[in-house]
Symmetry: C2
């Protein structure tokens, strides 16, 4: 006999929520495959080595490391999910290799330094949840000087895009104009970006790197505030309606092709989807139109697991364009022409202008 | 400049949640199309008629009715979404036809009786949210004796099924045994059914009707408690791991083929998905295995928008099987043989037994 009524104790509810989130992550093929293949294709790095799994969750990454031949894996998990990790370790027969430890990484002591750190710390738009800080602390505290970090680098990208789900979809919904509903959706989105899978066709420009993080060197201060200015050029005609954020991570590899885990709209969807900062009103752009904006990610004061994302639209005439800008502004066309001539070693005509 | 931090006022948050739910519903093609085509293919029923839209939400169904030629549409909505409905009515230029009213249907007075009631009241497993009661009250209060209800009937189905997402998926996840995680998922599912899209292949038997509701006659008492006994027969070899619930609705039609909105796993997915009561442990069944269970849906005391769903497993030997049961139990095989002979008018041999 099964009862449907949810027990309303917050405790139960949390545990339920936890499981749902882990279920979502564990069913993310791209995620699992990237870690599995990067770990198992580098057995030579793991053989008889000591590994630290930061935020081990259900312990799946620790099991990959054990399968790759690790001597010892310290699986550190702060939430109650550690209990499940202990059972997963048992059913995979790695009790002698994987030590599950219920603790925050900040509070733990390990009996030895580690050769490798593995961690799946990435949140929405890479930095949401700010679990990266735990990895940095673990690295400084426990990683040997020549140790490896899986993944070893992460890159956050930004690109102007269309967002039909917040705009055009409501122009005519099964013969009904729902524009006002779209307007309300955008009002809500003005205080928090949306998380959804965007089609590659919605991208209007080439993406720009917001930040590239070398996990071997990045510091906590490095990720407190990140800023970038992007003078993009529309590579098609379309509606500029938002800024799409996505990330990729690269894993260490000495002998094989490095494995990359990417949430690029061009790649198969992941549970991270993409993060979109939706503009309050849209702008029609033609191929060649310059799109300039400043993007800032600042660690929130109230909740330091969150970032405030600020997008400031800039007037393309009032900002400096990249040296070889492909936009249609006269200045950039002239500079391009001059650079072309210069490359050909032909400077005649430039003086004419 | 756009800020990401969510404003934490519960008010804002509710409104955000509301919009998300309506976004989900409005993007449900099967839902929109069923209402649109049933309403617009029956213009003769709507021409110059008075319509009541119970729980109008964003007002899309009211607009369909206006498009179908209704003289007046009373769009009654209790939540703040009514404000959006007012704007949707304006942008579709139906201010003179559609009267948006912010009220519970229980508290409202209409200046006249109505010819037609339209409502999208269905929740998960049809009855979750129990909005049906509002439709019944509206019908008894406002519908003319020969009035129409869109939809006019609803059927809830039940069928034993496999639930790989709660069982087999965790046997070997990318080379790691995650059985204990599946076990924990099932522990949580024991207190609340899960909502997810199930593949048709996961169905083990033919579905049985739990309840058929004629919206023209059903009473509030009729839906307080519903019980059914199902002696199903596995039509394939597989793992019996849960009971899948889904529903279909039929719309009135005098001249055309009646439109049906179905959440059958065989049909394209809808935002209702399917509801699955997950069994705490699974049972291997062969083709022909009888599967007997009692299913009860009882309106919850604490929260009367919810139902308690109880599934009681029964021993197939201890319950009466349908007269023409296709299961492999000797008794049913003999009865089948006898009935076959009887239909052929040939009773010889039966006395032999």
């Amino acid at each position: 006999m099964l009862q449907m009524e949810a027990m309303e104790t917050s405790n139960y509810f949390e545990s339920y929520e936890d499981l749902d989130i882990h279920k979502l992550m564990l069913r993310d093929k791209a995620r699992n495959t990237a870690y599995k293949s990067s770990i198992l294709s580098n057995r030579h790095d793991f053989k008889d080595k000591v590994v630290l799994d930061v935020g081990a969750g259900t312990g799946i990454l620790s099991v990959f490391c054990a399968q790759a031949g690790a001597r010892t894996v310290y699986a550190v998990e702060a939430s109650n999910i550690y209990k499940i990790a202990e059972e997963i370790v048992k059913e995979n027969k790695y009790e002698n290799v994987i030590k599950v430890m219920h603790s925050k990484i900040e509070d733990i002591d390990l009996p030895e330094k580690v050769d490798i750190i593995v961690s799946e710390w990435m949140g929405f738009y890479l930095l949401h949840e700010a679990m990266l800080e735990s990895v940095i602390i673990a690295r400084d505290k426990f990683l040997k000087p020549d140790g490896l970090i899986f993944p070893e680098s992460a890159t956050l990208y930004s690109v102007p895009c269309s967002v039909p789900s917040m705009y055009d979809d409501w122009e005519d919904l099964d013969g009904v104009s729902m524009r006002h509903f779209g307007l309300k959706l955008r009002e809500n989105a003005s205080t928090r970006p949306i998380t959804e899978t965007v089609s590659p066709e919605a991208m209007l420009c080439d993406p720009e790197v917001v930040v590239w993080l070398d996990l071997r060197e990045v510091t906590v201060d490095d990720v407190k505030t990140m800023e970038m200015r992007h003078v993009a050029v529309a590579n098609k005609t379309g509606k500029y309606q938002g800024i799409c954020l996505w990330f990729s991570c690269t894993f260490p590899s000495r002998l094989t092709e490095p494995v990359t885990l990417s949430t690029d709209p061009e790649e198969p969807p992941t549970h991270w989807k993409q993060t979109i900062v939706v503009l309050p009103s849209d702008i029609q752009v033609e191929k060649g139109t310059p799109i300039a904006y400043d993007l800032q990610l600042a660690r929130s004061e109230e909740n330091n697991r969150r970032y405030a994302i600020e997008v400031t639209m800039l007037h393309p005439d009032e900002v400096e364009h990249p040296e070889y800008c492909t936009c249609y502004l006269t200045k950039c066309i002239l500079v391009r022409a001059m650079l072309d001539k210069y490359e050909k070693g032909d400077l005649s005509g430039i003086t004419e202008k």
